[in-house]
């Protein structure tokens, strides 16, 4: 009895030692399996094309960001350290660090660009989330956020290469825009302190067939309808697919392999200069 029990314990020990060594590898193995090519692409992948030229217009940018704030009761917190942003403006040189060089004129470097969550095909934030509070929705490729499951560890913020995630460092509710009756601008649930949030491509609107709030906002501005185009990139006939096929577009930090689904439409070359070169 004693002998066999000792043998059993020895075996158990050996198995446990092996398992202990392999723990980190198991995780890697799971990850590698998930990376295998041929894994089913989502039937729908919502995507957006942002027109860089129209981003230069302050009225276009403000219409987008304000529509988003109202739609989702995004708080307006004055301290920059505690800011919450779903769609906001950054300088061209910081959005596309690989596309500026020593001789890029300041005007081009500092051009304002609208940025938001890229709803990546391989989202790093989803990979690292320990609870599944953020996940990529299989039905339409939106990177979702469950603010009731989020434990506020902020690992996703460390993992996102685009700075697209905001943490509620304080109670956001006093900073939410309210109407005369004291109620928030929209029915969208306000958040609690201690959770991470970000753009959801207006999943609640898209479900009912409406475009995201920012897209709807620019469509109301004459001459700026093309500032943001929203559609299904897996449908070759969608407006987004047509732009991606016919025009010069790019995405942020593509070398990282995250597969952003927000694209940027480059401004067309100046016709006059082209003609001069050719003549």
């Amino acid at each position: 009895m004693g002998e066999s029990r000792r043998d059993f314990l020895k075996d158990l020990g050996a198995v446990a030692v092996g398992a202990g060594c392999a723990l980190p590898l198991l995780d890697r193995a799971g990850w590698l399996a998930a990376q295998t090519p041929g894994a089913a692409a989502p039937a729908t992948q919502w995507a957006m094309v942002v027109d860089l030229e129209l981003c230069r217009r302050a009225d276009v940018r403000d219409a987008c960001t304000e529509a988003c704030r109202r739609e989702h009761n995004v708080p307006r917190i004055p301290e920059p350290d505690d800011r919450i942003d779903w769609i906001w403006t950054e300088e061209y040189q910081h959005v596309f660090p690989d596309l500026v060089h020593a001789h890029t004129p300041a005007e081009a470097r500092e051009a304002p660009v609208l940025v938001l969550c890229n709803h990546c095909t391989k989202p790093p934030c989803v990979k690292v989330c320990p609870t599944g509070a953020t996940w990529k929705r299989e039905s339409d490729g939106i990177v979702m956020m469950d603010m009731h499951r989020c434990i506020g560890c902020r690992y996703c913020m460390a993992a996102c290469p685009y700075g697209s995630r905001s943490f509620n460092w304080r109670d956001p509710r006093p900073y939410v825009e309210r109407g005369a009756d004291g109620r928030p601008a929209s029915d969208y649930p306000t958040r609690t302190k201690g959770v991470v949030e970000k753009c959801t491509f207006c999943a609640e609107r898209v479900r009912t067939g409406r475009p995201p709030a920012c897209v709807e906002a620019v469509q109301a501005i004459p001459g700026a309808e093309r500032a943001l185009t929203f559609g299904d990139v897996s449908d070759p006939d969608s407006a987004v697919s047509r732009i991606l096929r016919d025009e010069r577009t790019m995405a942020r930090l593509v070398t990282l392999g995250t597969g952003p689904n927000v694209y940027y439409l480059e401004s067309p070359p100046q016709r006059g200069e082209d003609a001069g070169e050719g003549a």
Binding site: V95, Y155, M157, A159, P161
Partner: protein, 386 residues
Amino acid sequence: MLQDAFRGGRRTWVLLGVWAVLIAVGTVAYARQLTVGLTVTGMSRDVSWGLYIAQFTFLVGIAASAVMVVLPYYLHNYKAFGRMVILGEFLAVSAVLMCMLFIFVDMGQPTRVLNVMLHPRPRSPMFWDSMVLFGYLLLNLVIGSVTIEAERRQTPPPRWVRPLIYLSIPWAVSIHTVTAFLYAGLEARPFWMTAILAPRFLASAFASGPSLLILLALLVRRFGRFDPGREAVQALATIVTYAMVINLFFVLVEVFTALYGAMPHHVEPFAYLFVGLERHAALMPWTWVGTTLTLGCTVLLLVPALRRREGVLALLCGGVIAALWIEKGLSLVVTGFIPSPLGRVTEYAPTAPELAITLGVYAVGGMMLTLLYTLVVNVRRRLQAV
């Protein structure tokens, strides 16, 4: 057995009182953080991890270093560590406890902590980290208490604890490896995304942990009238020396690759540390103090005549702990966020409540360690008297 933990002299009670006061202050600060939010800390949208996660990283190293006494004693039958092993295991228990508390106080929604187990995501290194840390805490708690209880009864420890001891050896390596993977797998953070991170973590752990153990052993000898053994202290000093040399080598490998390769996103974090970036240089003095301590202590430790003198050794161990605390408990985590992926340089400095909470967590570890070491000293002294 537990009553032995509370049979200390006047000095022990004073020490426990100091820990209790610090814990009370930390608790008050934490209550404020709970009600107001993490805005009471110095963390921000750009630097979203700070002192808490850095202390966690540093202390995982202290915890893992127990393997440096367990391995020679149990695998190589190195008898000189006979009285040191239990001190190492109980140091690991206190360190892991602090690690878990530091993760906890960093959480935005601490009441949801069980979500990590209710909705496990094996693709997340953080899931694995919480699993291995919890396992390591249990392992060392069980091994430590079973062996000291056996010693108290003057019987050999039960045989079933042996496999657990062997398991604790790779497990110790795993806690620090997984902690390194937490950082090294992030494409967004070039400063952390380096294959040398896990080896570096282990090397610095095997320097800082045994250094702390040497200081604790000297304290226990002085105030507890129980001697873990001069030879054991010297063996630990040799381990610290080797580990410091290896750690220094790993750091230089990293610095060479980053600076000679000279890709901006690799150079910028180092520039921030050593000379400042865009006129932001909060960590520069720390970096130079840390570098000087690392180089100075390593050179002096290499001289056998110096490290054999216990007074000098104690000073050098203090220097090693300070240097590696600056490296891991301060610079490593914060600099990963500088500059931000959007090119912003946002600096970080802990606030008063953040420091109070940090000290409070350290005090919990200190109290745990005081009680466990009092227990060990009481059991051992009774055995010596027999």
